[in-house]
């Protein structure tokens, strides 16, 4: 392993993040606050507890997941698309590194940024609602795994995209609906039976459910299924990336 190369890519990517630290910090704080004003105060005051948890607290895991997933995808997809767009990818291709090292550098940085945002939202949330985290280690593990797997997914999108529109397409058309319909703001058990069945085909349901379990000890699906879902998703993304680098698809002209 070329650890120096991994570090160089990681540090370089992170420096882009630190250049815009204020924006990176302020925008999740503001959007989380808005969610709490709308869902927590305005709507939440009319909703009783959900599965024994106050509605304001209930939506916290979903809110964090929503931001973590979209941030991981957009950071990773932009991180690898930008060098392709401006041409600096030649350096990555001519360097003595393999695909795993590129992935560790770029995906690692994107996941770190998403994790940072997730923690900021967690901190902001604790200002609005009383939060007790029953399984803090599991919570952290779920968050890190989600950051990593969605950063891998974003990396694939970044390589696949041939223009900025395509870069936005998958997050906007696929990921956001899946996250919103994945029980971010409600429990699956609140849905009519038919919709419950449909929801179980949504992979995001398993992630949010597992993440919520680590907070409140209640889940829509068994925790093992949540872990399997995220492991499977990670493995699938890694497999696709390995294939991309092996064939040079959309990278090597």
């Amino acid at each position: 392993m070329n650890w120096r190369a991994i570090r160089a890519m990681y540090v370089f990517e992170m420096s882009r993040f630190f250049r815009t630290l204020l924006q990176s910090f302020v925008s999740p704080v503001i959007s989380t606050s808005l969610y709490f004003v709308v869902f927590g105060a305005a709507i939440g005051s009319r909703i009783d507890q959900v599965e024994g948890v106050s509605y304001g607290a209930f939506i916290v895991p979903g809110l964090i997941m929503l931001s973590v997933m979209t941030q991981a995808i957009s950071n990773a997809s932009f991180g690898i698309y930008f060098p392709k767009f401006i041409g600096t990818i030649y350096e990555l291709l001519s360097a003595p590194i393999n695909f795993l090292e590129v992935v560790l550098g770029y995906v690692g940085a994107a996941a770190t940024k998403a994790l940072f945002i997730g923690l900021v939202i967690l901190g902001t949330s604790s200002l609005f609602v009383d939060l007790s985290i029953q399984h803090p280690l599991a919570m952290l593990a779920f968050m890190v795994l989600t950051c990593l797997s969605f950063a891998l997914f974003g990396f694939i999108i970044g390589i696949w995209a041939q223009n900025f529109e395509q870069l936005q397409l998958i997050p906007l058309l696929v990921v956001t609906p899946l996250v919103f319909l994945g029980g971010s703001f409600y429990s699956i058990s609140m849905l009519p039976p038919a919709w419950q069945t449909i929801s179980f085909f949504n992979p995001v349901v398993y992630l949010i459910s597992g993440f919520r379990w680590s907070f409140f000890g209640v889940a829509d699906v068994p925790i093992v299924l949540s872990l399997l879902a995220i492991a499977g998703f990670t493995a699938l993304c890694l497999g696709i990336i390995w294939w991309i680098f092996k064939t040079g698809w959309r990278i090597r002209a």
């Binding site: 120096r4 160089a8 001519s94």
Partner: protein
């Protein structure tokens, strides 16, 4: 001594069927400056890309410092620095940062002292904290060179280093290349300017349509390129050259209407004055004079023609 870069029978066919390289074989010696000369679309960039790992050859093998560029890519690529043709740089990044990144990417330990030396050599030290977008075009090109040199490569590829660069900058760039050679770096540069190859190369390889047409010491090639033709059109055709004009290698063409004199522009005396004097002494009346330089294209045409005959 083992060549620094050994290219054996390399071909590259793109997906659309375009054959950019067609059985290229070329050895590049340690420490030399080789100019890869050819028109646009000749396959220069493809050849460089294949050596650097940006594109995979369809056939053939390439070794750098004895390492196969595909099987032993780590060993091979660690030796190679590439300065691309396009100015590919992140506009918001600072000079020092991008150079540091390049060094790390190639697995070299952090050494800001060494980077300072490179930036000073390229007159970029004062700009080390400037953002790339604040730099002029010539400086950006130097940043690309600094990035390529940051990991101490043994071989440096310069793809059209002076395309779109003004005359003064071009001379600066040549100076930089000469200094690098003194430092022991093997340099391969592509160009379609014959003057550029003439100014800095030790050897010149001519490439066209994906084939290497010739590889020659610069001095030998320049002699051939330096040949010029003087075509003297006569008022009246003559049957044979007057005896007084023998021994100059003159040729009679177009049914005796034109006398062709070939001379070397590099010589101190071209012999034109005495030829004209002798012509008028022989009583020949001149209608017109024309000179024609042996151009790179002429050599191309000649080489392609030769290859065609041989096949």
């Amino acid at each position: 001594m083992q060549p620094m870069v050994e290219i054996s029978d390399v071909s590259k066919t793109y997906k659309d069927g375009f054959r950019a390289l067609n059985g290229v074989s070329l050895d590049i010696e340690d420490g030399e400056i080789l100019a890869l000369l050819g028109p646009n679309g000749a396959g220069k960039t493809t050849l460089i890309s294949a050596i650097c790992g940006i594109t995979r050859p369809t056939d053939g093998t390439i070794r750098v410092g004895g390492h196969d560029v595909v099987a032993e890519y780590r060993g091979a690529r660690a030796l190679v620095g590439l300065v691309p043709q396009e100015i590919n740089l992140e506009p918001f990044e600072r000079v020092m940062n991008t150079v540091r990144f390049s060094r790390g990417l190639f697995g070299k330990p952090k050494d800001d002292g060494f980077l300072e030396k490179i930036l000073r050599q390229l007159s970029l030290w004062d700009k080390r904290n400037a953002r790339i977008m604040e730099l002029s075009g010539g400086m950006k090109r130097r940043v690309l060179i600094a990035k390529a040199l940051a990991h101490e490569p043994r071989v440096l590829f310069l793809d059209e280093p002076t395309a779109g660069v003004d005359v003064e900058l071009r001379r600066d760039m040549w100076e930089v290349v000469r200094e690098l050679k003194l430092g022991g770096v093997t340099i391969i540069l592509t160009t379609h300017y014959i003057e550029e190859a003439e100014a800095i190369a030790d050897r010149i390889a001519v490439i066209d349509k994906g084939r290497i047409l010739l590889v020659e010491e610069k001095d030998a090639l320049m002699t051939r390129l330096g040949q010029k033709e003087l075509r003297i059109e006569l008022q009246e055709p003559i049957e044979a050259l007057p005896g007084a004009l023998a021994g100059r290698g003159l040729q009679l063409e177009e049914d005796g209407c034109v006398i062709v004199y070939t001379y070397d522009t590099a010589e101190e005396r071209t012999g034109i004055t005495s030829l004209i004097t002798d012509l008028s002494a022989a009583g020949l009346v001149l209608r017109d004079l024309q000179t024609r330089q042996n151009s790179l294209e002429d050599i191309f045409v000649g080489l392609v023609g030769d290859k065609g005959d041989a096949a």
